[in-house]
């Protein structure tokens, strides 16, 4: 392995990413890197992210310069053992450049969303990875499967990872029935049945975490573990201005400040992110479904359902709770209500979307948690 030359490629974050711009390198040429080390910062149309090293070794060459726009799968740099001679590195780069076709890269050609029909209607989902005990990711209120753009692929190294659009969200049916959380829970349960997933790790964000927890309570034998990121259902408080603002915003100027409440760093919310949410909100049926859901789940600016007491005794499996200390939507203090046996982490300097804002930390915590579940 040590003599192998490893490609550091442009990652694919989200379904629509085609290319990224190198904002800056975080590691010098010649420096040692370990698997998972942050090596470069990349900007896409939607969001900025950090590229992690796929291999251990020395960053032998920075092929892309700061400011370069590189297609998904394109060469950012080369990692290899110091023993590999320079001409071999040059030959690797020359060979890559001679054969690389943008758009045909494995990363790009890879996962395409699929659909499945359940009682609530059509559900869209994205599956990455194979085998293992599958992990299902559930987004929050108003979100979609793309919210896991920094997580789904890294977590799929040794298991199948499914990111689902819940009813009334993303590319799924634009209807949430009477808005009860059961509509969402049933849709996920039917999804698991249709895809023949018998036992599953569930990870959810915010409202999606509530759905995951409800499903774990309903079917404790089926749910191998429960990872809850800034979960709803841990206390009554919720930022009513966020919920109401998200539901009522019809234009960019109204929506942008609302979306900025999701992050500790408001600069993460760019034009494309706002446009994407607006495009979703304009679809027929979405507005009514969001109103129905929010009226049922968050009436009068409170959370209708608090299930921490039930979780303590009603679900015996392992629980991971991750919160951002600067969460402006659901207070991080709710983490105190986590079941006593839960592994709880409150991340400093992070808002309501730790899986996007501190993706690397969240991925490490999830990987460690899932590995522990297997070992246990």
């Amino acid at each position: 392995m040590s003599a192998e030359v490893q490609k550091l490629g442009m990652p694919k974050w989200g379904l629509s990413m085609r290319e990224g711009r190198v904002v800056g390198w975080l590691v010098d040429e010649g420096a040692d890197v370990a698997v998972g080390d942050e090596v470069a910062e990349v900007e896409t149309e939607k969001i900025n992210g950090v590229v992690e090293s796929p291999a251990a070794g020395v960053l032998r060459r920075r092929v892309a310069a700061e400011g370069d726009v590189v297609p998904v799968g394109g060469l950012l740099g080369v990692i290899a053992d110091p023993s590999v001679p320079d001409p071999d590195i040059d030959a690797f780069i020359a060979d890559f450049e001679a054969t690389f076709v943008p758009g045909e890269a494995e990363e790009d050609a890879g996962a395409q969303p699929e659909t499945v029909t359940v009682g609530a209607g059509t559900l869209r989902f994205l599956r990455q990875g194979e085998g293992g005990e599958p992990l299902v990711l559930l987004h929050g209120f108003g979100g979609d499967l793309n919210n896991w753009l920094f997580n789904a692929q890294p977590l799929s190294a040794d298991r199948a990872v499914y990111a689902i659009d819940l009813p009334a969200h993303g590319g799924s049916v634009k209807d949430a029935g009477d808005g009860d959380v059961r509509v969402l829970v049933d849709a996920v349960r039917e999804f698991l049945e249709t895809e023949d997933i018998r036992r599953v790790h569930l990870a959810g964000h915010s409202m999606g975490a509530l759905v995951a927890a409800e499903l774990a309570l309903a079917e404790p034998d089926r749910v191998l573990s429960l990872a809850l990121v800034a979960p709803a259902g841990f206390g009554e408080e919720i930022d009513a201005e966020y919920v109401n603002g998200f539901v009522s915003a019809t234009g960019r100027r109204e929506l942008k400040p609302v979306l900025q409440r999701l992050f500790a760093d408001p600069d993460l919310v760019n034009r494309q992110m706002v446009d994407d949410v607006l495009k979703y909100k304009r679809l027929d049926g979405v507005q009514a479904a969001l109103e129905t859901l929010s009226a049922r789940l968050f009436p009068d600016g409170r959370q209708a359902r608090v299930l921490t007491g039930e979780l303590e005794s009603g679900y015996p499996g392992p629980v991971l709770v991750i919160w951002g200390e600067r969460d402006a939507v659901i207070p991080a203090a709710h983490a105190d209500a986590a079941p006593a046996r839960a592994e709880t982490h409150v991340l400093p300097g992070v808002g309501h979307s730790p899986h996007m804002e501190a993706a690397r930390d969240v991925n490490r915590l999830l990987e460690g948690f899932l590995a522990g579940v297997r070992a246990g």
């Binding site: 234009g251 760019n270 304009r282 027929d284 049926g285």
Partner: protein, 339 residues
């Protein structure tokens, strides 16, 4: 879910989905069924450019060919709208609108106001506009300023397939008369469009590109030329923000003013003639509301104040170009640097 379709397909899809959703929606105009010996599903062309193709087969009672009399069928649309239908009338070229101005200006645009809100006129007039296809003076004009001038009308000028579908659906659902202007050179432009129906609200400008040096406002086909210019200018270190108002009435002034507040510089690209045009209107609004933010004189990029020439050489010189837009942007940026 979104997929790649053309501007023309986006319009067709918007019509089909709204006709499916609301049986009050009717389509009429010259050759909207089309084809020799029509009515007949098999040979129905769906208009001279095929925009309404397939609608007659799905909704045979609601897609109606009219005689070649714009004044008659635009008047019929106004009457149908006032009495409960939601007509979408296709008036082939905006240049022919002259013969039905009374129906539009004095009737449709005035009903709601003059009847104290007790009457509404939910009609849409779809029409082609714009130069660049060698169609000469009587088939090439960009007449949206004329309609923008009339209170009571709403005026929509989409630049992309996504906007075309969402704005046409909004136009059909709107209770006021809407003039919907389609640039003929955009019909084959492709882009991502959701399969599901969706409505884009009026007076919600699209920020096509974010930038910090110069605000460029452009409409319809000019948006694409402005994007070309902005690419070139980025290489020179000039960072353009491109704003597409999408509707000229109502106009999203706030987005333009906020942008100028950041950049201090304004270039408006308008395919209409320069006198009393949209460029002049926007420059005047910005001069009045944001004079203190301006670092340089705003500039208008428009054709000269002449009819559209038929000579290809002259027509190419007549329509704004990316080079001409870039020159205007450089001039405002340069003026600021010198100041």
């Amino acid at each position: 879910m979104a997929r790649n379709i053309s501007f023309q397909q986006a319009i067709n899809e918007a019509l089909a989905q709204e006709m499916e959703r609301d049986e009050r929606v009717v389509v009429f105009g010259e050759d909207v069924v089309g084809g020799s010996g029509s009515p007949g599903e098999d040979d129905a062309w769906g208009g001279v450019l095929g925009i309404t193709k397939g609608l007659y087969a799905k909704f045979p009672d609601r897609v109606i060919d009219t005689p070649i009399s714009e004044s008659a069928f635009i008047g019929a649309a106004a009457g149908a709208a006032a009495s409960g239908l939601r007509p979408v009338a296709e008036l082939m070229f905006v240049d022919f609108m002259g013969v039905c101005l009374d129906q539009i200006f004095n009737q449709a645009a005035k009903f709601r106001y003059m009847f104290g809100g007790k009457a509404v006129t939910p009609m849409v007039i779809r029409t082609m506009f714009g130069a660049g296809i060698r169609a000469a003076s009587q088939h090439s004009q960009a007449l949206y300023p004329i309609f923008t001038h009339i209170p009571g009308l709403k005026v929509v000028v989409p630049s992309t397939p996504y906007d075309a579908k969402g704005l046409l659906i909004q136009s059909i659902r709107d209770d006021d008369p809407v003039i919907f202007l389609e640039h003929k050179a955009l019909y084959t432009v492709e882009g991502d469009v959701p399969e599901e129906p969706y409505a884009i609200p009026f007076a919600e400008a699209n920020i096509v590109r974010e930038g910090s040096d110069v605000t460029v406002v452009a409409l319809g086909r000019m948006v694409h030329l402005a994007e070309h210019a902005a690419e070139d200018l980025a290489g020179e270190g000039i960072d353009c923000e491109i704003i597409d108002p999408r509707t000229t009435s109502p106009l999203d002034e706030d987005t333009i003013l906020e942008s100028v507040e950041n950049t201090g510089r304004l270039v408006v690209v308008d395919e209409a003639n320069p006198r009393c045009g949209l460029a002049a209107d926007i420059v005047a609004r910005v001069a009045q509301e944001a004079f203190g933010d301006l670092k340089a004189a705003p500039r208008m990029v428009t054709p000269p104040h002449t009819p559209v020439p038929f000579s290809p050489v002259l027509e190419d010189a007549y329509v704004p170009t990316p080079a001409g837009i870039a020159e205007a942007v450089r001039a405002t940026a340069g003026a600021a640097a010198a100041a």
